[in-house]
Symmetry: C2
Amino acid sequence: MNGAAFIISSAMKAGIDICFANPGTTEMPLVNALDSVPGMRAVLGLFEGVCTGAADGYARMAGKPAMTVLHLGPGFGNGIANLHNARRARSPMLNVVGEHASWHLPFDPLLAMDIEALAGSVSAWCRTAKTQDALADDTRKAISEALNGRISTLIVPSDFQLARIADRKIVLPEKEKHPVEEREVEQAVDLLRKGEKCALILGGHALSHRGLMTAARIQSKIHCDLFYDTFPARLEQGAGYPHMYRIPYLPEMALEVLKPYDTILCIGTRAPVAFFGYAGLPSLFVNDNQKKIVMDRADSAIVDALWMIAQAIHAPEAPDPGFLSSLKRPEMPAGDLDGAKACAILAAIQPENAIVVEEAITNSLTYHSVINGCPKFTLLSLTGGAIGQGPASATGAAIACPDRPVINFQADGSAMYTVQSLWTQARENLNVTTLICSNRSYDILKMEMARSGNLTPGANAKRMTDLSGINWVKLGESMGVASVPVSTCEGMALALEKALTAAGPHLIELMIG
Amino acid sequence: MNGAAFIISSAMKAGIDICFANPGTTEMPLVNALDSVPGMRAVLGLFEGVCTGAADGYARMAGKPAMTVLHLGPGFGNGIANLHNARRARSPMLNVVGEHASWHLPFDPLLAMDIEALAGSVSAWCRTAKTQDALADDTRKAISEALNGRISTLIVPSDFQLARIADRKIVLPEKEKHPVEEREVEQAVDLLRKGEKCALILGGHALSHRGLMTAARIQSKIHCDLFYDTFPARLEQGAGYPHMYRIPYLPEMALEVLKPYDTILCIGTRAPVAFFGYAGLPSLFVNDNQKKIVMDRADSAIVDALWMIAQAIHAPEAPDPGFLSSLKRPEMPAGDLDGAKACAILAAIQPENAIVVEEAITNSLTYHSVINGCPKFTLLSLTGGAIGQGPASATGAAIACPDRPVINFQADGSAMYTVQSLWTQARENLNVTTLICSNRSYDILKMEMARSGNLTPGANAKRMTDLSGINWVKLGESMGVASVPVSTCEGMALALEKALTAAGPHLIELMIG
């Protein structure tokens, strides 16, 4: 067994059986090893941002890491933006990056660059295999990191991939345990017992089914309000779950929304921070007069903490149904489409158990206020602000959950960043319906330009926000995705219903504004 | 004047009047400043790899840096692959990257990441403005680095972009002078005087008009052979220039080609290094028995060195016409297209003064052997091996030289990496004709897979090289580029002639194999 086969076998044994890849010559032994172990599925992305974004979406839905195989520094570089999103989503990932043969690298071949500098910026753990003897240990460590919820990046010179592995023992890494400390829970309970007006801000695993139902128990007891992060990695939502509010994106609105609370308890997330800093507005949405406890941890033990709090305050065993949303779809709007209408139509139609990957930016502003009454579904969002997450993440989510419909509610400008995702969706015949909000504009930048005081932008500034000239129907079709344009509410409803009943990927260009 | 306006004004004063940009909120003051100085032209790319690749192509043709404006770490990350190519091309560039407001950054907002770690890997100079008072000096230094031929990256917190600049003095940086040392020249001359069989390997500015004509004078005197780097940043070629050989890509072939020479003189480039390391083959193409002198420098003084050598060996004032190529187009092939035929057709048709941006990978293997007899033209190639250079670089070259036809001879797999370039070509109505070699395969990887001994690839390995399912005509049209498919030689010739006579961008999908 050579080094490459050892890496692939070890990953398989650890349950990592999906590999999103765009390999090159320095990864050829890894490519050849992909078929050496039954069960490994390799999925090609035509740009590395597709691979890393898909691995992120996969991890969010499968609850375990996928593997990527990336080509040297430039290949890793292309994957950085979606690795950044994955890091903010706290998604695990196992990246294996080829490096020039150890004896060749000192000659600085043209493709050589400082891969570790790039990988270090987005990986919790990163190492270049320094000798072929060390590769077995390096592999175990890389897999252990990924299985324990983190992004690990293993850089492997091509000669070490080819070399015989002496130490062939595949050891399954232990799952780290970081139990909740009682003291933490007691502090939270003390605060809640004060009986003041309280907001529970939930993130991470606290937004899972069990997390939400436990939060609803707490809510039933103390009548707190429940919020979720502006950009949750994964949120279970819909009828039967407690009514949740999203922390608004703009500081003015977020401050206003959180102001009434005396007490703020953050579970599975940090205290909310403004997406950008604006002169005269604070960075933190929680003020000094508010009592605040932050119980932030990435793993599912945060749900145990929530449960311990519920028990300690003697919350009812089951939530009061009055705090749970009942099934109530928005009314179907009519006439010409706009962003708010598109949100209503999506919420009116999206099927039970759907996965909605939401990167619609300005067009989804009202979506979050109409989803409480939908049938239960899962929402994935743009966690790190690096645009181009949606199409790639939807691709990975569909691979993780082939039996669930995936709807990618997507801004046009952002979609262009990882537009190659459509090809992988077609190649793998994935059940992804992409709703492109085609407003032909970076609308969020127009808003920010106005906020910055530039109300009469000059020619250059105007050109920085104008995206006109993309035909999304042709673009979708060019990569094998059945695509239609719609400009009315009725058209969108019809096209969405149709796309959801037919297998394989679809794209609907929503002509907005 | 605020910091952003100071940066834009300083760049303009230094002659940097093109800005390839994809800005975000943290760059809004820079966007607003783009219109504060007359003459600055901002060009939007719908993905940062387009911006950095265009800036590279622009610099190669304009002989001066362009500016980019990129959004935070993820925006810079998306630009890394083509920055790597630019670094290998020794192209100058001025990157200005926004950063969160200095008072906001400590709160680790979602988009925050280690921009310097990313920028350092591809920049000769990189700095984050630490105070608003330092910004003026930081700007001068960044511009000085770019004007002196290097990639500089200035990271500017948004509050410093907004702050008033006290020190508004715009100082034009001095051009560094690194004259050629006589000792270097003497060593080279001593070697050449030995009268042994000699190869001159030229790179960088030695491949300019003056460099080549001076090399031809040397050749006329000592009857050496002339080679160029496998991947030259910019090569002047065609009838009237000396006959040149390309250093082959594969080590076996390169070693064979260079073996006969006793003496190897590298001018404007280093001794050639294998693109990848293959077991049993050396990294260097020059062996220990060969006498070798390397005169490698990035600036145009290398042409002075060449001239000094020519004078010292008493080369004739003008090259012997016998060493110069005469006009001789390849014969026009007929029937179904393949890579070699496409090369011949391109060389048979490409107009005088064309700029050919060549990233056709396996399909261009024979192109380099048929271009000596073309009318004079300029060739740009994939300098760093980070695929996706061609479409972006062609975009920048067309902006630098609006009166010259640009032909992007382009592999399909590589084109997908910066496919968004087509949109900018349409938006700016650039005279770029893209010839997509649509073989629906990463053919180079198939070759490397066979070289690695995997002659019967399994299902996963096969999927890593198969690109089928892209309709390039729809893809081009989706972004506003007039596009046609051709599958015969006659069809390609007709379509290319037609595209070259009509203004604006065109795409021709060459159905190969």
